[in-house]
Amino acid sequence: MYAHSIGGTRFSFPDLKTLLARATPHRSGDVLAGVAATTMAERVAAQMALADLPLKTFLSEAIVPYETDEVTRLIVDTHDLSAFARIAHLTVGGLRDWLLSDEADSAVLAAIAPGLTPEMAAAVSKICRAQDLILIAAKCHVTTAFRDTIGLPGRLASRLQPNHPTDDPKGILASIVDGLLLGCGDAVIGINPASDSPQRVHDLLSMLDDLRQRLEVPTQSCVLTHVTTAIDLMAGGTPVDLVFQSIAGTEATNTSFGFSLATLQEAHEAALALKRGTVGDNVMYFETGQGSALSADAHHGCDQQTIEARAYAVARRFSPLLVNTVVGFIGPEYLYNGKEIIRAGLEDHFCAKLLGVPMGCDVCYTNHAEADQDDMDLLMTSLSAAGLTFIMGIPGADDVMLGYQSTSFHDVLALRQMLGLKPAPEFASWLDRVGLTDAAGRVRPLDMPERFQTLLTAA
């Protein structure tokens, strides 16, 4: 039982998960789940009670039962007590103050990451203002590598997302060329296929691999198919760089996605065995997003942001190259409007970076959400200031296959110019080598380099 009084009223919360849920800034998904605070005063009372809570509480009270949930078991069994020692004396409120302090520099934050549980990260995020979420995340550096190096300070990478409604190879190629000419694709060239057919996925992966080799571009490719399909394809010799899977923070949600931790383990080992990376061996690409557990009716009475943070425990277990919170994709029943999407995006990035996860963000919204491109501009700019690992690059921000709006190749250019950010170093060198950047490193509007022209003629 937790309690706090505010404005002469005493609010009590029967258990930890209820306290966390009531302390969460307002979002439609928690209202839908029936776990949100019902008044603003109750919400702040919960935040005050949460601030007083010793971090050690999280080591003794599970919000999803250990016995029936393998994500909880993963979190508990891999918790690093020696890394936790430095912050073990703190409350949640004390952790916020400490994270903001000069003592918590990049090296110290990296050192304590294995001692933080997702629930601790979620808890402190709930009492942070947006500025805190940006400031603290900006101090966290998570670096990964495959054919180029992702996450270095002063860099902003992009996933080139050349989706096509029928997976038409020429249509996909047209979008890839547009993106490369605008300096995008250093995080990954990643296609969401319209069909999960193994043959189709094989054909697309083969095409991407051929393209990468012909252009000698230091990046990696991915077709975002189910992990079990990727396992089969790897066994059959398909050129798989990164294994993709959508993941969530409870076992029941992951079961509804059709996989278990053992499945990810199998895929991780198979991808490592291919040894396709040149500068690193981070071979996994995960996507997450608040609301997926509730959508699968597998949230265990927890708020969606806390469950989301638990997905990062799943991610970090498999040392991914990239993790991407697809923040506004799920729709207004979980994040109603621009304000809720912006807050959620900042929280997801903050929690992931605290936990040592290379977080990018699909800054996005659907046409049934109360949001528009102005909201996306605010989120992508805030996240870039916070040291975001990567964003999406999509022609004109309009995904013609998935039917939602994200960020454009031009947005990537704008953010890099605005904040002085550069692409991944190996990719930046390539852009320079093929003549796409000027002396200042800016991508310039130019005639198409000859090898691109050859490529298109062949198509």
Binding site: P165, D297, P395
Partner: protein, 256 residues
């Protein structure tokens, strides 16, 4: 970058490639064209499905058409309460319980997030599917139509009708250049509590996306496999391409 080069590429994709640049930004005409497309999509989301017109378009199939209601009373509630859209109203439960059971395949047609998609393509797609089902020796019907149903509403519909498989056709959320995209979901042994892992999905069904004939071919292949093997979802891979390629290699398609 010459504009002509992208003119050539645009015939391959509706994606917004080769946009004008103003520094790092998008040039004004392309910027405002995007706003216009978003405005049209926003307006489309809030349009309701015309049930009478849909029922009329389904009548040539010669199958009973039943109106069912989810628990979402209006479009705004439907958008924010997916749980209401996944369950039948008490009246619809009673109505389906009162029916004689026995058909193997039940069909639910729902407006989803684009009534425009459902109104445009559902009847045409079923006109390809229903004869295919019959040819495969499967019985089908009735066709239930729901203005504000989610995919999982099909589980309750299929269970109450005693169907072995439920096919849900539903309007997908509209994109800027795809306001009329239909989705098809196949679930074997429908009952409450089924999850997305139990379903096979064919999405983006529309003339400029997955054309209706191709969608029908995939749905019939998946339905046949699902009925034969008693599985759907992640354990049933859409290998219809491989089958097609194998058939093509044997010259069967060249003569057919």
């Amino acid at each position: 970058m010459s504009i002509d080069r992208f003119e050539t590429l645009r015939k391959f994709t509706a994606a917004r490639i080769g946009l004008g640049r103003s520094g790092p930004g998008i040039a004004t005409p392309d910027h405002l064209a995007f706003r216009a497309a978003h405005a049209l999509a926003r307006d489309a989301v809030h349009t309701e499905l015309d049930l009478a017109a849909l029922a009329a378009s389904l009548s040539p199939l010669g199958l009973p058409v039943l109106r069912v209601e989810s628990r979402a009373p209006d479009q705004q509630t439907y958008l924010t309460r997916p749980d209401f859209g996944r369950r039948l109203s008490d009246a619809s439960v009673t109505a389906l319980q009162a029916r004689e059971q026995g058909e193997e395949i039940a069909v639910l047609v729902a407006g989803g997030l684009s009534a425009f998609a459902t109104a445009s393509h559902a009847a045409n797609l079923l006109a390809l599917l229903v004869p295919g089902f019959r040819q495969a020796g499967l019985t089908v019907g009735p066709i239930c139509i729901a203005p504000r149903g989610r995919v999982a509403l099909g589980d309750e519909v299929g269970a109450l009708l005693g169907a072995r498989l439920v096919l849900v056709l539903i309007g997908e959320r509209p994109g800027l250049s795809s306001p009329d995209s239909l989705g098809a979901y196949i679930t074997v042994a429908p009952r409450l509590g089924r999850t997305d892992a139990d379903r096979n999905c064919i999405s983006n069904i529309r003339p400029e996306g997955m054309v209706l004939a191709e969608a029908a071919r995939r749905i019939l292949w998946l339905t046949d496999q699902a009925m034969t093997r008693g599985i759907s979802g992640v354990s049933l891979k859409d290998d219809s391409d491989r089958v097609l390629l194998a058939a093509s290699a044997q010259g069967q398609l060249l003569t057919g």
